[in-house]
């Protein structure tokens, strides 16, 4: 096989994003964080200002709580598309069954299955330095019986 194929693999933007989401599927937060820069930021868009912060603080905290409340949390990456030379858009389905209260939603033992969009921005070292996550929060609450 031609060596340029391997070079292209190393230069891949999408690789870090897909590996991040595979680590999320394994519920391995430390591994997820290893693909992110130390001062990377995150915006959980539906949560407004409360959803903005650092990946290693707010992101880590929210994912820890989510996995604790939904022990079977799982995801499926539908597609990953590079939007420009530093941005990748991933369409992801996230699902799980609630076993503990989460973010003001008391547990009724229900499951959710929700389309999410992750927009990753990467630095020149292919580390994720910003993540924007969006989903239909009203539908998420409805599925869990909060509305």
């Amino acid at each position: 096989m031609n060596p340029t194929v391997n070079q292209q693999k190393e230069l891949s933007l999408k690789n870090a994003c897909v590996k991040f989401l595979f680590a999320y599927q394994q519920r391995n937060i430390e591994k997820m964080l290893s693909y992110c820069s130390a001062d990377g930021t995150i915006d959980f868009e539906p949560l407004g200002n409360e959803g903005k912060g650092y990946i290693h603080e707010l992101g880590k905290g929210l994912w820890t709580a989510l996995i604790d409340s939904f022990p079977d949390l799982d995801n499926t990456v539908d597609a990953a598309v590079a939007e420009d030379e530093q941005t990748v858009r991933c369409q992801v389905v996230i699902r799980g069954t609630q076993e503990k209260d989460f973010a003001g939603i008391s547990s009724k033992g229900r499951s959710f299955d929700s389309d999410h969009i992750f927009i990753f921005r990467l630095d020149p070292n292919n580390k994720i330095n910003h993540i924007q996550v969006s989903w239909n929060h009203t539908d998420f609450q409805r599925q869990l019986g909060a509305l």
């Binding site: 096989m1 194929v5 292209q8 897909v18 990456v77 597609a79 990953a80 369409q91």
Partner: protein, 279 residues
């Protein structure tokens, strides 16, 4: 314009859908000629032996495509804007073909057209294009494409694995199947199946099945001015009309009726080609 399709040799058939040669008539020059396609679930390698052309897609309002390129999975409709002399020769891969035969990281190419000179040795691409230009016969051009593929494919050629077979089943059923049945037949956990499928096809199995279903609908209505939507809706096993419309808008950017009235698929301009064996 003429469009020819050729069947690959037996050993490549699990991974290659067909070879094609698409060209204008002798002396025929196109001017801003537009052809569109909904996503069809196939990746391809294309050698453009005619004049350069551009595409329009959700991602690219206008993009002059590399002369010779690899086209990854498309998840939205796209349009080709053709000018001058049309002459292309291409390899259409089955969904896992690029990964299984060439070990290429296929999810990297979703919605992209990547210059073949970034993937293979540039001098080899130029040499292959020169050979293709020298051949006037469509069959001989297809034969050269097969030679190119056999030269670059892994040796020995792989046997189809559970993911190759599952992806081909989605194609054969036009996306009208249950993914859980495929997972059960593959004897894998859902997580493992989905991950391996994504690495080989570039999309999740469920999403890929939705694309194949949309491609099937495109085929059902291609070249028609009136269709029985209820029949298509039923044939394609949609839960409800809103789900049907949502898929149409997501993948083609238009409602079903708008698509029917406005689409300019290739079927409008060429006779449906009969696939021929290479000889």
């Amino acid at each position: 314009m003429n469009y020819f399709k050729f069947t690959p040799c037996e050993a490549l058939r699990p991974f290659v859908e067909c070879y094609y040669v698409w060209q204008s008539e002798e002396g025929e020059l196109l001017s801003q000629f537009m052809v569109e396609s909904p996503p069809n679930g196939f990746c391809s390698i294309v050698f453009n032996l005619g004049d350069p052309y551009s595409i329009q897609s959700q991602k690219y309002p206008s993009l002059q495509v590399p002369l010779h390129f690899l086209c990854g999975q498309n998840i939205h409709s796209y349009k080709l804007i053709l000018n001058g002399r049309l002459s292309m020769a291409g390899i259409v891969f089955k969904p896992t073909g690029l990964a299984s035969l060439l070990h290429l990281p296929v999810y990297e190419y979703t919605e992209e057209r990547v210059d073949l000179r970034q993937i293979f040795a540039p001098q080899e691409i130029e040499a292959t294009a020169d050979l293709l230009r020298q051949q006037q016969s469509a069959n001989e051009r297809a034969r050269l494409l097969e030679d190119f593929l056999l030269k670059h494919a892994v040796d020995p050629l792989p046997q189809p694995d559970a993911i190759d077979e599952a992806a081909c089943q989605i194609v054969a059923s036009n996306g009208l199947l249950h993914i859980n049945d495929l997972i059960r037949n593959a004897c894998m956990s859902r997580r493992n199946f989905e991950r391996r499928f994504f690495k080989k096809v570039g999309l999740s199995p469920k999403y890929y099945a939705r694309i194949r279903r949309m491609s099937y609908i495109g085929n059902l209505i291609a070249g028609k001015s009136k269709v029985d939507w209820a029949s298509i809706f039923y044939t394609c096993e949609y839960y409800d009309q809103s789900h049907f419309s949502k898929d149409f808008i997501e993948f083609t950017g238009r409602t079903p009726q708008q698509y029917l009235q406005e689409n300019r698929e290739l079927a409008h301009f060429v006779k449906k080609p009969r696939e021929e064996p290479l000889h």
